[in-house]
């Protein structure tokens, strides 16, 4: 059986009087794609921001690679973060840097590899997302879909064991959205990394998910495979898929 890489138990997070996450528990094993579906504002993005330590949970426990991240100091949290790739909804490319520099940045900061090794890794990551020709472009010269691909290449550059995707297909046309979804699937096969994919795009969930979890009002409403949820008799779950 594959080892568990993420274990979240009874996570709670609120902003003032707004309880965003009421009680969320989940686990993720190596090589698994878990899609978290939910309406906008249901707390999906807050969940992965708690997971990576960008937000601090009010209650509950998050274990990454069997270590409680609440007990890690900043140095150890950063060591843990090197094993995780994060694709932001907006791609969050550094707009003062070229594509090459964007990908080079974590390598330059976190590794002692030679320039040749770094160049090879950058070329490999860009080849994986099919955008090697964009290597010297600035982010402002890229389309939305290209930015997502470059963001994905940057998330992959450190060869992470877990990938977190925040709304990977939002704002893209249906064809590009499908391309990104298949790219996520290809990356899962190639890198054997576990992934949590936050989305409200059912088509993306259908293509990428090994397992789907639906969040409503900060609680886990349902979970299962795409087929199981597609056949659910719950009206709210049905409204998502039909």
């Amino acid at each position: 059986m594959s080892p568990t890489v993420v274990e979240i138990t009874h996570l709670k997070k609120s902003f003032g009087s707004n309880n965003v996450l009421e009680d969320v528990s989940l686990s993720l094993v190596k090589g698994e794609n878990l899609v978290i579906l939910g309406k906008s504002g249901s707390g999906k993005s807050v969940l992965i921001k708690c997971l990576i330590g960008l937000l601090t949970a009010d209650d509950g426990q998050i274990n990454l690679f069997e270590k409680n991240i609440g007990e890690l100091d900043e140095t150890n949290l950063n060591v843990m973060r090197k094993r995780i790739g994060f694709l932001f909804q907006s791609a969050a490319l550094y707009d003062s840097m070229t594509v090459r520099e964007n990908l080079m940045f974590p390598l330059r900061e976190l590794t002692d590899s030679s320039k040749q090794e770094k160049d090879n890794l950058v070329n490999e990551a860009l080849t994986n997302v099919g955008l090697l020709e964009a290597i010297d472009k600035m982010p402002s010269e890229l389309s939305g879909g290209m930015k997502k691909r470059i963001g994905l290449a940057r998330a992959l550059i450190m060869k992470p064991e877990i990938l977190l995707y925040d709304e990977p297909t939002t704002g893209l046309d249906p064809i590009t959205a499908k391309e990104i979804s298949y790219l996520i699937l290809a990356i899962q096969k190639k890198y054997e990394a576990a992934a949590i994919i936050i989305t409200h795009d059912v088509e993306c969930a259908k293509i990428t998910a090994n397992r789907i979890m639906i969040i409503k009002d900060g609680l886990v409403k349902a979970q299962g495979t795409y087929q199981e949820l597609f056949q659910s008799q719950d009206d709210w779950v049905k409204s998502f898929f039909h």
């Binding site: 843990m80 973060r81 090197k82 969050a92 550094y94």
Partner: protein
């Protein structure tokens, strides 16, 4: 009223922690030297034309405005020395720092706020790198080192403006002008004025970085950060200047 005071104190405490973090990060590796050089170029070299134009006009206008009063006392020959002391001790550093706060402070505030709202700073953080060291430390160090240089250059151009101003209604040779200037300008005019510019540069940059780094979401947050960077940066110049004058008076006035 209580809420306003609370919010002000909270802001002050956060700024204090931000400054403390700067001193922790600036002396520990890794040192971002290439980014520091890039920031020195952007902050220093690219600000020079603006500082030079302002300095020239400042020297010229100050000389023209001072002439009638000096003439009334029959002291027009003191004009170069008086203008030089004014520029070097006070007007040069303060005006250059205010121009610097307007150009560099607003730029840093807006850039960092924009990086914050587009999640670029978060992206650096989740990759396990240290955005504070890369973004904040480099900009603050660059501004602290570059402003004194700009003030020296601005003062020099300002004195050239004064030379032009003196010669509009009079005739003073280049050599005589500088002889008059260096007859009156002494170490205690130059040294304290130069030292306070390091503090000006530091305060402008750290306030701008703080405002940008803690920006709220949305384009409104970017505008607000740029605006408050300039306002509080400029205010800090006057506060530091007031303290510097008191300290200078204590140590350098006989």
């Amino acid at each position: 009223m209580v809420a306003v005071v609370n919010s002000f104190l909270e802001e002050l405490a956060n700024l204090y922690l931000f400054v403390i973090r700067f001193f922790k990060e600036v002396f520990t590796p890794r040192y971002e030297l290439s980014e520091l050089a890039k920031q020195c170029f952007t902050i220093g070299y690219k600000s020079f034309p603006l500082v030079a134009i302002t300095g020239f006009i400042m020297g010229l206008v100050l000389t023209i405005q001072s002439r009638p009063t000096m003439a009334e006392f029959g002291a027009t020959s003191w004009l170069p020395a008086m203008v030089a002391v004014s520029i070097i001790r006070e007007i040069g550093p303060v005006i250059t720092a205010l121009i610097f706060a307007g150009k560099v402070g607003s730029g840093i505030g807006a850039e960092l706020a924009s990086m914050k709202v587009t999640e670029q700073i978060d992206a650096m953080e989740v990759s396990g790198t240290n955005p504070y060291k890369y973004i904040v430390v480099t900009r603050v160090v660059a501004a602290t080192l570059m402003l004194p240089l700009l003030v020296i250059l601005g003062d020099a151009v300002g004195l050239y403006g004064a030379y032009v101003g003196v010669n509009i209604k009079g005739e003073v040779s280049w050599t005589l002008f500088w002889y008059n200037v260096f007859q009156k300008v002494v170490f205690s005019d130059v040294f304290p004025a130069l030292v306070k510019t390091f503090f000006f540069g530091f305060s402008i940059a750290i306030i701008s970085c703080y405002k940008g780094y803690s920006a709220n979401s949305g384009t409104e947050g970017v505008g607000a950060s740029a605006n408050s960077s300039v306002v509080f940066g400029s205010l800090s110049i006057f506060v530091i200047d007031m303290l510097a004058v008191q300290i200078t008076d204590l140590f350098f006035t006989p």
